[in-house]
Amino acid sequence: MADTAAMPPLSLGPASVASGQRHLLGIAGMTAAEIEPFLDLAESYALLSRSRKAPRDRLQGRTLINLFFEDSTRTRTSFELAGKRLGADVINMTVATSSVNKGETLLDTAATLNAMRCDLLVVRHGMSGAPQLLARKVEASVVNAGDGTHEHPTQALLDALTIRRHLGRLSGLEVAICGDVGHSRVARSNIHLLKALGSSVRVVGPPTLVPGALADLGVSVHHDMERGIADTDVVMMLRLQKERMGSGLVPSEREYFRFFGLDQRRLVLARPGALVMHPGPMNRGVEIASAVADSDQSVIQEQVEMGVAVRMAVLDRLSRGGYA
C-alpha cells in the first residue's frame, strides 16, 4: 500500500461551542494563569467565611439555580451555601420534583430557566456533556457540578486549594489518585488541573477500574497499590460505587480493600506528612480505613470547607463576566 496517497480527514465547520469563559464546564484546556485566580479568591473567601464576614451584597439580586439530575446532598448544599453567603437568591431544582421526569427535554428545561431570568446555573447530570448542551442554550453562566464520567471542575479546584494551603505549592508534586478512576469525573478534572500546574499524577487501581488507556491523559498507570503510592506527596482516594461490585469489575468489597484499600501500613510508603484526601462520601473499610480517614494526615474535612470557598469564588467570578 506504499503508493496509496493517504487522504487527510475532511475539516468540518466549527462546532457551536459554548463560550468557555462565561461558564465553568471543565478544567481541560484551562491554563495555570486561568486557574490560579480562582484559588486566590477562594482562599480569601475561606478566611472571610471563618470570620463570618463574607460580602453578602456580592450576588445580591442574582438568581442561582441548582439543577441536579442526580442525587447529591454534599455538592448541592455546598453550592447553596456558597450562593447564600454571597447574597444570591438560591433555588434548588432536583430531578424528583422537576418536570424532567414528565418527558421534558433538557433543552425545554433550558428555555424555562431562561424565562425565569436565572443568572447562574449549577448543573449536575448523569451524562457526559449535558452541561455543554445546556450552556449553548441558556443565557445564564453555567457551572458544571459533575457530568457523567467527564468533569467535576469545582471539586478539582477545592482539592487544589486544600493541597496548596498544606504544601504551599501545586507544582512539582507527586499525586496518586486511587480507585475507580475510569468512571471518575473527579479524577479527570484533578488530572487536568494538577498537570496544568506542573505536578505529576499517578492513577492506581485494578485494570477493570483503571484501564491502561488512561495513560493517554498524561498520567502513569499503576495496578499495584504499594508501588503506586510510594513516595507521593498526596494520596487521593475515590469512592468505590457499590454498583461496580456484581457488574464484573470487582469481585467483592473485602477483596478490594485487601489490595486497594488505604490503611496505615500502606500510607507509610508515601512521603512523610503526605496528605490523604477523599471527595466523599467515604466507604470506610472499603477504599479507606477509618484510622487513616481520621488521622492527622487526612484533610478530608478541610476539603469540604474549601469546597464552599471555591464555589463562592466561582460564582463571584462568573457573575462578573467570567475569567477571560
Binding site: A5, A6, S11, A28, T105, G129, E151, P211, D216
Partner: protein, 426 residues
C-alpha cells in the same frame, strides 16, 4: 417518444472500461447509443450540453435506512428519494429495521412500489433476517425473497448468538441469499457510544473497543466457511476487521464488504465538544483505522462504498451525547465525499465510480450501475472539481443530520436521470 442526447460529456462506466469524451443518446427510457467526439448528433434529438462534466451510471447505494414506515417525521420514501437524486443515486438497497420491520412479504412489495411511485429511485428492500429484526426467530426468508427482498440483515443489529447465526447462514445458503451483518460484537458494544481511545477517555464517554468489530468478523468468517453461505459485512470501519476480510479473500472465501464515507473521511475527533451529528454506529474511529479503511478501498478488500444514510430529526440529536441517536445522513454527500479520495490520489476516478455503481450492483445481483446500450437510462452527471459546502439545514430531503456539516467537498451532481427522465437538475 423523442430522443435526447447529452453531449459534451466524459462518458465513464467502469463496468465496461468506458472512459472517453462523447455523447449519450436516450430513447424510451433506455440508453439508445453512445457516441464519440466529432460524431454527428442526430438532428431530431433534444440536446443537453453536459459542459464537459462526467456522465456516469446513476449511483447504486447498497445501505440506506429510511424512516418510512414508522418514523416518517425523520424521513419519508419521497424525501429520501429527493436526497438520493440530488446525490446522483438512482438505486438504493433499503435496510429492514423500520417500524414495523420488513419481515413480511407484503412489506417488501410495499417498499418496492413506494419507490417506483416516486419515479426517482428504485428501491430494493433487504428483508429482516429475524422476525421484527429482534434477533430471535428466523424470518420467512424464502417468502421475503420471492417478494423481492435483495438480501437479509437485521440492519443496525448484529446477530449475537453464534448458533443462531450459523443456522441463519445455513438456511440462507439453501435459497442462495446473501446475509448482511452489522460487524460489531453486541456485548462489547453495549452501552458504548465512542471508539475506545484517548479522546473518549478525555470526554468521559462510554467506549466501544475497535476489537468489537474484528471479533464479530472473525466469528462470522468462520461460520460462512462452515456453512458455505454468502456473507457481506456492512460499514466496516477498522483496520483489523478489514485485515481479517483481506486474509479470508486471499483464502478464496466469497465474503464481501462495504464501507461508508464517514469512515474514510472523518475520524473520532469529529465528536469533539460532544457533537452528536458525528455520533454514528459503528462509532467514528481513530486516524489509524481511517487510514486502514482507505487502504482497504485502494487494494480492493472493500467492495463498495455505501452512504449508510440514517435519518434523524433534530430532537433525536439535541441530547447529551450518550443519549443521542446514532447515525448520519449520507445520500446527498455520497459522491462528493467519495471524490475527496480521488482528489487526494487515493483512488482513480474510475475505481471510485466502480465502488459507487458497478460493484454494488454486482454484489446485489441487479441490473444497474452501467451505461450498457439497451439498459435503463439511470444516469448521473457531475462536475468532479466543483466545490460546495455541506450545510445541515440546507440539504435536500427531510433529515439534516449530516456528520459532514461545514465540510467543503469537491464534486457536485449537476443532473440525475431515472429511466431516461431528468429527476434532478442543480
Amino acid at each position: 417518444m423523442t430522443t435526447t442526447v447529452i453531449h459534451n460529456v466524459r462518458l465513464l462506466d467502469p463496468s465496461c472500461d468506458l472512459d472517453r469524451t462523447g455523447h449519450l443518446l436516450l430513447r424510451d427510457g433506455l440508453i439508445a447509443g453512445l457516441g464519440a467526439d466529432g460524431d454527428v448528433l442526430p438532428d431530431d434529438a433534444e440536446r443537453i450540453d453536459g459542459e464537459g462534466c462526467v456522465l456516469s451510471p446513476g449511483l447504486v447505494d447498497m445501505r440506506v435506512a429510511i424512516g418510512e414506515p414508522g418514523s416518517e417525521y425523520r424521513e419519508t420514501i419521497a424525501s429520501a428519494a429527493r436526497a438520493a437524486v440530488a446525490g446522483g443515486v438512482t438505486t438504493m438497497a433499503v435496510l429492514p429495521n423500520a417500524v414495523p420491520a420488513i419481515d413480511d412479504p407484503a412489506l417488501v412489495r410495499l417498499l418496492r412500489a413506494r419507490g417506483d411511485e416516486t419515479g426517482m429511485v428504485t428501491i430494493h428492500p433487504y428483508g429482516a433476517l429475524t422476525k421484527g429484526c429482534a434477533g430471535q426467530a428466523m424470518a420467512e426468508l424464502g417468502l421475503l425473497q420471492e417478494a423481492g427482498a435483495i438480501g437479509f440483515t437485521d440492519g443496525i443489529r448484529a446477530i449475537a448468538d453464534t448458533k443462531q447465526m450459523r443456522n441463519l447462514l445455513s438456511y440462507a445458503r439453501g435459497i442462495g441469499a446473501t446475509v448482511v451483518q452489522h460487524p460489531e460484537d453486541p456485548s462489547l458494544a453495549s452501552g458504548g457510544c465512542a471508539t475506545a481511545g484517548a479522546l473518549a477517555t478525555r470526554f468521559g464517554l462510554p467506549q466501544i473497543p475497535a476489537a468489537a468489530e474484528a471479533i464479530l468478523i472473525a466469528r462470522d468468517l468462520r461460520l460462512a466457511e462452515l456453512t458455505g453461505a454468502r456473507l457481506h459485512f456492512g460499514h466496516v470501519s477498522t483496520a483489523e476487521g478489514i485485515g481479517l476480510i483481506r486474509e479470508a479473500k486471499a483464502r478464496g472465501s466469497a465474503v464481501t464488504c462495504d464501507t461508508a464515507p464517514p469512515y474514510f473521511a472523518l475520524n473520532e475527533t469529529a465528536i469533539v465538544d460532544f457533537r452528536t451529528y458525528a455520533k454514528l454506529s459503528p462509532p467514528l474511529r481513530t486516524e489509524a483505522d481511517r487510514i486502514g479503511v482507505i487502504e482497504g478501498l485502494a487494494d480492493g478488500t472493500i467492495d463498495a462504498i455505501a452512504s449508510d444514510h440514517a435519518p434523524s430529526d433534530a430532537d433525536d440529536k439535541r441530547l447529551p451525547f450518550a443519549q443521542a441517536r446514532a447515525g448520519g445522513t449520507g445520500l446527498a454527500t455520497l459522491l462528493g465525499v467519495t471524490m475527496s479520495l480521488v482528489h487526494a490520489g487515493s483512488l482513480s476516478l474510475s475505481r471510485a465510480m466502480a465502488l459507487l455503481t458497478a460493484e454494488p450492483a454486482r454484489l446485489l445481483g441487479i441490473e444497474a450501475g452501467s451505461l450498457k446500450i439497451g439498459g435503463r437510462a439511470d444516469l448521473c452527471l457531475f462536475a468532479p472539481d466543483e466545490a460546495w459546502q455541506v450545510e445541515a439545514g440546507a440539504l435536500p430531503g427531510r433529515a439534516q443530520n449530516t456528520p459532514f456539516d461545514g465540510a467543503v467537498l469537491r464534486g457536485r451532481v449537476r443532473g440525475t436521470w431515472k429511466n431516461g427522465r431528468q429527476v434532478f437538475a442543480a
